[in-house]
């Protein structure tokens, strides 16, 4: 990997982290665990369409680990990591099918997969199936948030030409 490439990845990771930390300061109107705007995923979606799979995975890993530290909620790492892995795999597959004009759709599906991953992790960790009741609510809020981040990423991709 060239130094130029590495610097780009580091820059994207730090941008994602800054967005993540700023989002922590925004009060959450929905007191339901797991409901979040997920603005930092603008960077993830952007990276999925501009960088190689391994490079995108690196950005997300750094974001997850440092994000868990900065937010002071290391226990949330398991849930967010499970979501992020499922979401990333899905989006990397979708990248092959979807054209550049439907990036927002990719982001919506990514958000849904993220929520499914989160809930699966919660069911396994809590050893109770009752948390699965959150899934429909998370899917609704998640796909709305995903559509928003997807449109943002689409605007970014159109503006930043390579």
């Amino acid at each position: 990997m060239s130094i130029r490439r590495m610097t780009e990845l580091a820059l994207l990771s730090s941008v994602a982290l800054i967005i993540f930390v700023i989002e922590l300061r925004i009060p959450n109107p929905f007191p339901i665990p797991g409901v979040k705007l997920g603005l930092a995923n603008i960077v993830t979606v952007y990276a999925v369409f501009r960088y190689r799979s391994s490079e995108t995975a690196m950005i997300v890993t750094v974001r997850l680990l440092l994000g868990a530290m900065f937010s002071g909620k290391p226990s949330a790492l398991l849930y967010s990591a499970a979501g992020a892995i499922v979401c990333l795999c899905g989006m990397l597959l979708l990248r092959r099918i979807l054209p550049e004009k439907q990036i927002w759709l990719c982001s919506v599906i990514g958000a849904m997969l993220h929520n499914i991953g989160q809930i699966t992790a919660a069911v396994i960790i809590m050893q109770s199936f009752s948390v699965a009741a959150y899934l429909p609510i998370l899917l609704v809020t998640g796909s709305l948030a995903g559509a928003f981040t997807g449109v943002c990423a689409q605007l970014l991709l159109n503006r930043i030409k390579r």
């Binding site: 007191p31 339901i32 665990p33 002071g72 909620k73 226990s75 949330a76 849930y79 099918i97 979807l98 054209p99 439907q102 759709l105 919506v108 599906i109 849904m112 919660a122 960790i125 809590m126 050893q127 109770s128 009752s130 948390v131 009741a133 959150y134 899934l135 429909p136 609510i137 899917l139 609704v140 796909s143």
Partner: protein, 115 residues
Amino acid sequence: MKNRKILFAVILIFLVSVCLSVLILRHSDKQTIEIVQDGTVLYTFDLNDTEARNIRISTPDGGYNLVQIQNGKICISEADCPDQTCVNMGVLKSDYLPIVCLPHKLIVRFAEGES
């Protein structure tokens, strides 16, 4: 064509989730409460027969949640976890939507079936 199918599938999932969410958020008429920690049931009781009291539930690693019962309603009034989601969730209302504290693996919910 393939893209259109994906789009329809996404819209379908979205609509189904909206319907399910409405169902899930309905208020419950059950009265039996269960407090579950890490997969094991700690307490079961009837809300109507229980006078106002507080139950302190500790976790093995030193954390705690304070469960408050008052006027036939139950909520988590205090917790020492960083995210406080369980406290912000307020009173338990729905059959399907338990109060959950993810960091402490604690669930407060209506019990299955009538007892």
